[in-house]
């Protein structure tokens, strides 16, 4: 009884140590991005607020400049004090005020886009991950078969296109020429958001094409990665052993081989998340989808620095959080972390 408790405690301790190490890493990453974000405007020659003011060629109202100064925490205080004030305002969720949507707070502007990006990029990424890995499993299982010989070269070819160019092609041929899909926005302009069937259908219809573009360009990586690991795992002795024992093929394929081959995919999922997200932001721009990507474009076009930086921080934090989740899934999937 006591020994069992001790092992449970020791195991929990190992997991905790692993997770704490990961959390420490994400904290460092968050701190680096916060610091970059703090020093960037200060590296501009002169006072950033005035520099931005000069770029706007006098189109900025004085109260906007004042809010910019405040947003950047620009004062005569020493740099360290400014940094402290900046950190404390970030921790209080204050990212400053958007120039373009003056006087709306950056956080409220981002909140409007966040839900659409979560919906589009989130569902597309998960769909692409699941489908890509399944295809990889089947490709490796029936090596040299139809799935294995046709799909990889095709997907490599599609993957070579820039994300947003695939989106432009799809928009032009399927949206503009064939009129199969709506050309822009997340839902029909004639509808107002609400929990009803018509609105849900409209949202679904509007997100189909952009989501397909993201899936099409990102699925190849998942499939090839999974296939190559799976090929290696299938050559392991324990698979031969399982074959010899006459275990059902399905069981060997999924419970024996795929479960182990999935681990590298899970690790790269966290790493790839930022990349896929970047691509989906560009896809949003092509489709004028009102998510974070579209906001980013607005910020760039209007030199809305606070919004740009707020987006950078929010997206970074989101990716770090997602990675932490992936780590937790990893603990659950890989018993070696628990029992080492």
């Amino acid at each position: 009884m006591v020994t069992a408790l001790i092992t449970v405690y020791a195991k929990g301790n190992l997991v905790m140590r692993y997770l704490l190490r990961r959390i420490g890493f994400y904290a460092v990453a968050a701190w680096v991005s916060l610091t970059v974000n703090f020093f960037l405007p200060r590296m501009m020659p002169g006072d950033p607020a005035s520099a931005i003011f000069a770029r706007f060629q006098g189109k900025l109202r004085p109260e906007e400049i004042e809010s910019l100064r405040k947003a950047y925490g620009l004062s005569d205080a020493p740099l360290l004090t400014q940094f402290g004030q900046y950190l404390s305002s970030i921790f209080h969720g204050d990212f400053g005020i958007s120039i373009n949507f003056f006087p709306v707070k950056v956080t409220s502007v981002i909140a409007t886009g966040l839900i659409w990006t979560l919906l589009l990029a989130g569902s597309a990424t998960i769909f692409s991950f699941v489908l890509g890995n399944l295809l990889g499993i089947f490709g490796a299982w029936r090596r040299g078969g139809l799935v294995d010989s046709v799909l990889p070269p095709l997907l490599i070819f599609i993957g070579a296109f820039p994300y947003f160019f695939v989106a432009m092609l799809a928009l032009y041929f399927l949206g503009f020429k064939q009129n199969l899909f709506p050309l822009r926005h997340a839902y029909s302009d004639s509808l107002s958001p609400g929990w009803n069937m018509a609105f849900a259908l409209s949202v679904l219809k509007h997100m189909t094409l952009p989501a397909l573009c993201i899936v099409g360009t990102s699925i190849g990586g998942w499939m090839l990665g999974m296939r190559n690991t799976m090929v290696g795992v299938l050559a392991e002795d324990y698979i031969t052993m399982a074959q010899a024992k006459g275990i059902a093929q399905r069981r060997i394929m999924f419970n024996y081989a795929a479960r182990n081959a999935l681990l590298p995919s899970i690790t790269s999922f966290g790493m790839a998340l930022g990349f896929v997200l970047s691509g989906s932001l560009l896809t949003e721009i092509v489709f004028s989808y009102p998510g974070l990507g579209y906001l980013l474009l607005q910020a760039v076009r209007n030199l809305d620095y606070p919004l740009m930086q707020g987006l950078f921080l929010m997206i970074t934090f989101a990716v770090l959080g997602a990675n932490l989740l992936v780590d937790m899934v990893y603990v659950w999937l890989d018993p070696r972390i628990r029992a080492r």
Binding site: F25, Y26, G144, M168, A235, L273, L277, L296, F312
Partner: protein, 331 residues
């Protein structure tokens, strides 16, 4: 197949006999052999042909499409004709001329960034892998932090604060792109670090930097080349993405700015496909060619993939499926 395997076995004994000689002797013929295999590889040939073609286009731009690419050439959005091979853009410039001249800047930015990223990555990665200990801890942490911060928002934020232009783009892309090559080269250096020839060099009192760059680096040229190609693909894609957002100098002519103007003038919605499809195809072709080169490099230098190819050849010959063969490379 039988004969092939036999010759492989013979090779193995030959190289096995050479092994005990001083380390400089076997490494050279080995390197030459992967180069030779690489040149014979079909993917490599396709990739190199396409890349060379575009380099030629960039160099010979004044001959292929004479005239100023920014010049007003006709009415806006003219369809392709004998006079304007790929029609005119929304601003009335000749699309073909813009594409040909744009090759220069796009390739220049791509290759320059790729080279810079790989060089910085090599220095950081080899330093981390060779010295290990706290040096490795600190540098690895740095690499992973740069890798995990999502690229596009960081690029946009960095680029927005610098003066728009190709130089800024190269700086920004290098600042975000060095970490991947560094990671790849670090893991390679880690595995080479424990090899006998490195220990021999350490014992003979060679300077650390000399060991890193003259002993270790030459043994991972294929990994270096692979990183270079990968970084170039990344750079071209990211450069085009930044230009498309309007974050590079939109006054210069590159494939990215062609796409930028095509969107800004909403050429797509007047059906002027020639303003954006050719440019995108060029980008995709270059990226595809570079990816092909990388796959070829991988096939030639990665014994597991090579063995797998032989196994699949054997499978095709016997037309048997569901066979489970452990891929073992002899030689």
């Amino acid at each position: 197949m039988q004969a092939k395997q036999k010759s492989a076995d013979v090779q193995a004994t030959v190289s096995g006999a050479v092994m005990p000689l001083p380390e400089a002797a076997p490494s050279r013929p080995k390197r030459a052999s992967w180069l030779r295999r690489f040149v014979r590889n079909r993917k490599a040939v396709i990739g190199f042909t396409i890349v060379l073609f575009f380099i030629l286009v960039a160099v010979l731009a004044p001959l292929i499409a004479p005239g100023n690419p920014k010049e007003f050439a006709g009415r806006a959005n003219l369809a392709p004709s004998a006079e304007h091979l790929l029609g005119t853009s929304g601003q009335g410039t000749d699309v073909f001329r813009q594409l040909v001249w744009g090759t220069r800047l796009t390739l220049l930015v791509g290759f320059a960034t790729g080279l810079l990223c790989t060089c910085i990555g090599t220095i950081v990665g080899l330093t981390a892998g060779y010295f290990g200990g706290w040096v490795d801890d600190v540098l690895s942490l740095l690499m992973n932090v740069v890798l995990i911060i999502p690229g596009l928002p960081l690029l946009v934020t960095l680029a927005a604060f610098l003066r728009p232009g190709p130089t800024s783009v190269v700086i920004v892309l290098t600042a975000t792109g060095w970490a991947w090559p560094a990671r790849v080269l670090r893991s390679q250096a880690l595995s080479l670090r424990s090899k006998d020839f490195v220990s021999a060099a350490v014992v003979s009192g060679e300077h650390s930097w000399r060991i890193i760059f003259l002993e270790i680096l030459p043994n991972m040229i294929s990994v270096f080349a692979g990183s270079l190609v990968g970084a170039t693909i990344y750079a071209i894609g990211a450069d085009v993405g930044l230009a498309y957002l309007g974050l590079s100098d939109v006054g210069v002519v590159s494939w990215g700015t062609v796409l930028y103007w095509a969107t800004t003038n909403s050429s797509m919605l007047v059906g002027a496909w020639w303003t954006f499809i050719p440019a995108g195809l060029c980008i995709a072709l270059v990226a595809f060619a570079l990816a092909m080169i990388n796959y070829a490099l991988d096939e030639v230098t990665n014994p597991r993939l090579r063995a797998e190819k032989e196994v699949s050849n054997a499978l095709n010959e016997r037309t048997r499926r569901h066979i489970l063969i452990t891929p073992v490379r002899r030689g």
